[in-house]
């Protein structure tokens, strides 16, 4: 029997994760938040081209779920505007993201599509378009390619509470379900679609209620608990990989900033905001890591410093970079012809 004075060993880490992996999760959540904070500063200095979208309070949702796919196996996900964290987990870099937001020549889209709309199968994530719902059938097609080729790969697609009202969501998830494709669908219930509360999108109690319509299983998790998110997603990914088809996951979280940076959030109550702020996923995870003994405040502060340095370097690198040259706008609509025609009145 242990003496009453002995320090009890840290509890077992859930979900088969290692301490390194726990710190990875912390790193990506913090990186997401810090990068977005940097972007806010740049936005206020009018250095960002286009709107700025935040995922404050949703970092656990994005990071925990993306961490559950297996990039070595070739899994691919499709992020939404609040999934900067998912992209970082997949290997997107702050330099890329800064270049995108500042419309630099070397940005992944070379100044063509905004913000975090970029990605290719090789990177492990696919560039979304604005039209909500469209990525669901597309990711179904990617999952279909996995199935057709007998590959051991899984696709994961995010969809907002609002985007679930689109016809393309319905057609895409139904197609994937009936084909038993290796697809995980994550419904991010952050309470709002722009100003519209989830209750005005749909008369369901929970977004998981929608799974029944497609004959697929569903599971709901606390989207602000990164380990819980990781765990449910991991199970759905495993299920998909073993050929059992689509799972719908609902992550309950909250959009603490406006739809975009300019949104005054007048429709969100102070009480609601405070309640969710108190449940901040990063603060909560820090408490979990430190009280369980899996990590220490000092180790986490180290990570924070590393991130700060990384971001400072990234901003210093990207800020002075040039935007794309006008003429580059014409290339690559198709492979053949390689360039769109120059209009006849073009100067220069």
């Amino acid at each position: 029997m242990a003496s009453p004075n002995s320090v009890s060993p840290p509890p077992a880490i859930p979900a088969g994760l290692s301490v390194e992996q726990l710190l990875d999760l912390y790193y990506y959540m913090r990186l997401t938040r810090s990068l977005e904070e940097r972007l806010v500063a740049l936005y206020r200095q009018a250095k960002v081209v286009g709107g700025l979208f935040r995922s404050l309070g949703q970092e656990a949702d994005a990071v925990g779920s993306a961490y559950a796919i297996d990039q070595d196996k070739g899994d691919i996900l499709s992020p939404l505007i609040r999934n900067l964290g998912s992209m970082l987990v997949c290997g997107a870099t702050p330099v890329e993201v800064l270049r995108q937001y500042m419309a630099k020549a070397e940005s992944p889209t070379h100044g063509r599509d905004l913000n975090i709309h970029y990605g290719t199968p090789q990177q492990g994530f696919i560039g979304q378009i604005s039209h909500l719902g469209d990525m669901v059938p597309v990711m179904g097609g990617i999952a279909l390619s996995f199935k057709m080729r007998g590959e051991d790969r899984v696709a994961l697609v995010y969809v907002g509470d609002g985007a679930m009202s689109t016809g393309t969501f319905h057609e895409g998830i139904n197609f994937a379900a009936v084909q038993r494709l290796p697809l995980v669908v994550i419904a991010e219930n952050n309470g709002y679609a722009f100003s519209t509360p989830t209750a005005k999108q749909s008369a369901v109690k929970h977004l998981t209620d929608k799974a029944a319509a497609y004959g697929i299983p569903s599971v709901r998790a606390d989207g602000n608990d990164v380990l819980a998110v990781y765990e449910v997603t991991r199970r759905a990914v495993d299920r998909a990989r073993s050929g059992e088809g689509v799972t719908l996951i609902e992550l309950e979280t909250y959009r603490r900033k406006g739809h975009a940076e300019h949104d005054d959030q007048s429709y969100q109550s102070a009480e609601e905001m405070e309640r969710w702020e108190a449940d901040d996923p990063i603060d909560r995870y820090i408490r979990q890591l430190t009280t369980s003994g899996w990590s220490t405040p000092a180790a986490l502060a180290d990570i924070d410093r590393r991130i700060a340095d990384e971001l400072a370097a990234a901003v210093a690198l990207v800020e002075p970079e040039a935007g794309p040259g006008a003429g580059t706008a014409l290339s690559g609509v198709c492979l053949d012809p390689p360039e769109a025609e120059r209009e006849w009145y073009d100067r220069g």
Binding site: G111, L132, G325, G327, T328
Partner: protein, 326 residues
């Protein structure tokens, strides 16, 4: 007279119509509590109530389809697309159901679909579109594209009163940049199907609409002062039905035409106008009908790229000089 922005003019037009006719109502995403992404319907919920200002799910096909059903019953819906780019999600509903309803089944469908269109705002490929050409070959639809605050008001009111479906494409670049004195006590109604002579001239005609009208006027000014050229500018205002008479009258006078639009060139509306001019006024042409339009690429958001791809005043000036010298 109070100064009224283009955006405020649309707002006033809808407000007046809702005051006038209780059958008029609004539906769309975030149009109620938030007052619309651009605040075009700000205050409407408070004044007209949730029955007549309906926040919908993100379902453009349902928004348009429900508007059509309500219109069959004598209501007068105004459906907002948060950005007009999302009208593509209702393309089937508009072209197959709405446009054909009267013709095929005798179903009157008086409704308006409106939303912010257009570029020059670094909005990128999915928040900058000009969907006129996508609907131009759909008999049964009307398409209006106001350029001025006066017409923005006059055309939204006329659209609401029209007995058939009207697509109302407002230009978001103009929302707060255009201001005009509009009398508060005059009822402004701009007839659908009539162009506006935005500037008189006799050497050359620029046919255009929406935000491009202002670039055409700038170009005309520059051409007048630098080249002594007298440029006529026709603001079409309505694309469907098209005011052939106004176009041909100008062609007969100036014998040289430039058609300018913001949408990409290939398959854009300028082709249709060129064909009409060939058909109706070929003998009067002293030079080929020429187009100034966006390059044939999706619209990039990086400023240098967007500025290059979209037509600018300089492009109009260069093209007009070429045409005048022809």
């Amino acid at each position: 007279m109070p100064e009224v922005t283009y955006l405020e003019a649309i707002r006033q037009g809808m407000w007046e119509e809702m005051e006038r006719d209780e059958n008029v109502f609004i539906l769309g995403e975030d149009v109620g509590a938030y007052g619309g992404a651009f605040k075009v319907t700000d205050g409407f919920l408070e004044r007209f109530g949730a029955q007549r200002v309906i926040d919908t799910p993100i379902s453009e096909a349902a928004i348009v389809g429900a508007a059509a059903g309500a219109a069959h019953m004598g209501l007068r819906p105004i459906a907002e697309m948060q950005f007009i780019d999302f009208i593509s999600c209702a393309y089937d509903m508009l072209t197959n159901y709405v446009a054909t309803a009267r013709y095929r089944a005798g179903l009157p469908t008086p409704m308006v679909v409106r939303g912010p269109s257009g570029g020059y705002v670094r909005g990128g490929p999915f928040h900058s579109q000009n969907p006129e050409a996508a609907f131009l070959h759909t008999p049964g639809l009307k398409i209006v594209c106001p350029a001025t605050a006066r017409d923005a008001k006059g055309l939204i009111k006329a659209a609401v009163r029209d007995e058939d479906p009207v697509l109302y494409f407002e230009h978001k670049y103009l929302y707060r940049r255009i201001k005009e004195d509009l009398p508060a006590d005059e009822e402004i109604l701009t007839p659908i199907g009539k162009a506006r002579l935005a500037r008189e001239g006799h050497d050359l005609t620029i046919v255009t609409w929406s935000a491009m009208v202002f670039k055409a006027l700038e170009a005309a000014e520059q051409l007048a002062s630098e080249d002594g050229l007298s440029v006529e500018v026709i603001d079409l205002r309505t694309l469907l039905p098209m005011d052939d008479q106004a176009i041909m009258a100008s062609v007969r006078k100036t014998n040289r035409v430039l058609i300018a639009h913001e949408d990409t060139r290939t398959g854009g509306v300028a082709g249709e106008i060129t064909a009409r001019i060939n058909n109706d006024a070929f003998e009067f042409l002293d030079a080929p009908v020429k187009r100034v339009a966006a390059h044939d690429v999706p619209l990039p958001y990086a400023p240098a790229l967007e500025d290059f791809v979209l037509p600018q005043t300089d492009d109009l000036v260069a093209a007009a000089r070429w045409l005048a010298a022809y």
